[in-house]
């Protein structure tokens, strides 16, 4: 599990205040069920050991491609989904956070009774899944969400007044004409007005619906709003309106945002700090300027190189990535990005699956592979139907066609009859490393240099 040391987490985002949300080793796995009995045959590891803080008044951008787990993480933070493991803490004081990190740094079985007591106290006061009723109510009021799809996020049968006024009704904050006035002032704060009270969502354009969504999120005057791709479904001219509005509201109300998006331009504009996710894990984390000026992780660099930017030199070509995102039910060992990484080295986590998928991509791979006997992710025996194919595969694997990094990680290739034994150097998962000034990255290249 990756845990931030208190110092590094404290350094990040020096402008902002105490953390509103503190994530420690958050995991969310979805079971894959199969057959009539719905037996669990595997886990999709949507989010894996993610830790960071979201500090008061700042915007944390969460960026990554589809399927990287950013939306799932957003749902965990907003309390819509419970994480499988790890903790999400609400309004932890700096002191408690330091204590928490201290306790979490100790392995569970080695914790002293006092440490356990401390943990229990913090958990029950702040951890989302363990909050008591009144603390939960405070959390629920103070953490709101704006969803991507403004069409499905508004109940088609409710009037705007009921939609925006609903949180006020739930908390019995207002009723009757008082409620109406509160709703009007909320609508006005998002650039709409009294004339929209008695209309249905389908009577509005996408941008207006998103404004209604924002008004609803503001109704209880929350501290913190999760913005899940709030402008992805909008046209650029309307997107600009909404982004400006979100910025103004943040200034006026001192809001904290978790801004989830796949659009690097938007994230860069809106965020103070940015976390980049790939295949369920955080690969880089730092201030917006740092991350865009000096991206460290090869994946971040690839994202930036592929991102079209209107202000950039038009003659600079966009560069894409080879291959596809691996299956999150069976993520690569070591660094999860190594299968597509242009600068991968031997220590990046090459494993049996990489060899098999590389072999099966090649045109000469025989169809006679009958079994893969695994001793570990890094050590296996490939069983073929005949001796000749085993020999040719072994030859291919020790030949010059193998990617250099993979070849360097390959310790043994040996043939016995119809079997080929392959063994790779075994590697642990890569942890986030602090590069200074709250810029963290999980790339082996920086770990080694240290």
């Amino acid at each position: 599990m990756t845990t931030l040391s208190p110092e590094t987490a404290g350094n990040a985002g020096s402008v902002a205040g105490s953390p509103v949300m503190t994530l420690r080793g958050v995991e969310k796995h979805f079971p894959i069920k199969e057959g009539a009995l719905q037996r669990v045959v595997g886990q999709v590891r949507a989010v894996d050991s993610v830790s960071f803080d979201i500090r008061r008044g700042e915007t944390l951008g969460l960026v990554g491609e589809s399927g990287c787990g950013k939306t799932t993480l957003g749902r965990c933070v907003s309390g819509l989904t419970e994480p499988t493991a790890g903790g999400i803490y609400f309004r932890l004081s700096d002191e408690d956070r330091t204590t928490l990190d201290g306790v979490l740094a100790v392995a569970e079985e080695d914790r002293s009774p006092e440490q356990k007591q401390l943990l229990t106290r913090i958990d029950h006061g702040h951890r989302l899944d363990l909050l008591d009723a009144s603390a939960r109510r405070i959390y629920r009021r103070n953490c709101q969400v704006v969803f991507q799809d403004a069409f499905s996020s508004l109940n088609p049968r409710h009037l705007v007044k009921d939609i925006v006024g609903r949180p006020l009704r739930v908390y019995k904050e207002a009723s009757g004409s008082d409620l109406t006035e509160r709703v009007v002032s909320l609508l006005e704060s998002v650039g709409m007005g009294r004339q929209h009270l008695y209309r249905y969502p389908h009577q509005f354009s996408g941008g207006q619906r998103q404004r209604i969504s924002i008004a609803r999120a503001l109704a209880l005057d929350p501290d913190f709003i999760v913005l899940d791709e709030p402008t992805s479904a909008l046209d650029v001219s309307v997107q600009a309106q909404i982004l400006n509005l979100l910025h103004d509201l943040q200034q006026q109300r001192g809001l904290t945002y978790l801004f989830i998006s796949h659009d690097l331009g938007v994230v860069r504009l809106m965020s103070d700090r940015i976390a980049v996710m790939y295949l369920g894990r955080l690969v880089e984390h730092g201030t917006a300027e740092e991350l865009f000026e000096t991206p460290r992780h090869p994946y971040t660099q690839a994202l930036l190189a592929a991102n079209p930017d209107l202000s950039a030199d038009p003659d600079v070509e966009m560069k894409g990535l080879e291959g596809t995102v691996p299956d999150p039910a069976n993520p690569p060992q070591g660094c999860r990005f190594h299968t597509r990484c242009p600068v991968a080295v031997a220590l990046c986590g090459w494993e049996v699956d990489d060899a098999v998928s590389w072999l099966s991509e090649s045109a000469t791979f025989p169809d006679t592979l009958t079994d893969v006997e695994r001793r570990s992710d890094f050590d296996a025996t490939l069983v073929f139907a005949d001796e000749a194919s085993a020999r040719s595969v072994a030859a291919t694997l020790s030949g010059p066609a193998v990617p250099t990094a993979m070849a360097a990680a390959l310790e043994t290739v040996s043939v016995e009859d119809r079997k080929v034994v392959i063994r790779f150097t075994s590697v642990d998962e890569v942890a986030l490393e602090d590069l200074g000034l709250g810029h963290l990255t999980s790339c082996i290249l920086y770990t080694v240099r240290k």
Binding site: V236, A240, D248, L303, A306, T324
Partner: protein, 405 residues
Amino acid sequence: MTAPAASPPTRSTAPLVISVKDLQVHFKVKTGVVHAVDGVSFDVRDGETLGLVGETGCGKTVTARSFLRLVKTPPGIYAGGRIDFWSGDARRSGAGPVDLLRVPDREMLAIRGDRIAMIFQDPAKALNPSMSIGDQVAEVLYQHRSDDLVDDQPEHVPRMLRRASRQLTTGPERLALRLPPWRKRASRLRRRGDELVAAALAETQIANPRKIMDRYPHELSGGMKQRVMIAQALACNPDLLIADEPTTALDVTVQARILELIADLQRRHGTSVLYISHDLSLVRQMCDRVAVMYAGRIVETGNTRTVFSDPLHPYTRGLMAAVPSASQKRGELLAIEGNVPELIDPPASCRFHTRCGFAVALCEQADPELLEIRHGHGVACLAYASAGKLGVPNAALPLVDGSTR
């Protein structure tokens, strides 16, 4: 990727492939007639990439779909104008163009997928989930390239085999083709088909086409599916490729690869491309020329480089300022206020006047034409119109920074 600079300056003299004149496509709805495309004119020349850029509902997709008459009628109505198309053969033989809006259905079938091909936004929806990749690509070949399938046959090609090459055989014929003496020739035909399919897939840099051919769409990633679509579209080496938001459903890292691929294939085959996108930065990267659409009209057109470095129309300017980029500050994006107007029976006025910061009274009364201001750079804005022709005093015209009176 082709940078606009790489395009030769003689491009404007290259022969025409498509010439759209005053195209009007309307849709009948309960409350009136929606003028989705309302008097659009542009040309696509041989080997060039024209970008059609605009926001949702501006009519760019409807324009492209009417090239292949894919707009459903009703509710659609081809209300006017023409789309002249010169196929490669027509250009070589000096024959005139055909009007795509009026060619007989049979001829349209022969053009679709063969002379003009289209790639769609969502490859997951455009591929048939119950057909193997190989069969789907082969379908295009059977439809349009049946002669290529039989041209390696050793002797005279009997009729039944020809029919087989078009997939027109009946049940008994298919049975006969499985038995001697036909079996050998039929399997040769199939092998030939597979070869052509594999070659088409290899063109799109699919590493292992023979293996991909046996797979089904759900087994492939989004980027891979889009490659298959491109292979299918380019299998017959069309004169015009219509790419309708080909990368909108893809991740950025994959998008870059697909665009690279399209540009590369275009360079090698000399295909003209009509590239439709809402993303200004992609259009700037991909296209030689660009046409900006708003509310069913083209408001600005010209060389990509000029339009992007010196946009004339207030809408184009607004659109470019609204895109978040590294140089912009938070909260200071220049949004275009308001929303796209209703296009039901629109009045004769500038469509943009409701959202335009420079609009004056005249903009509500006069409908600006697309006028060529500089060489190849046209704009439809009254600020650039001639007061004399409109019969109004100079002072009645709106004043947009840099517009000349």
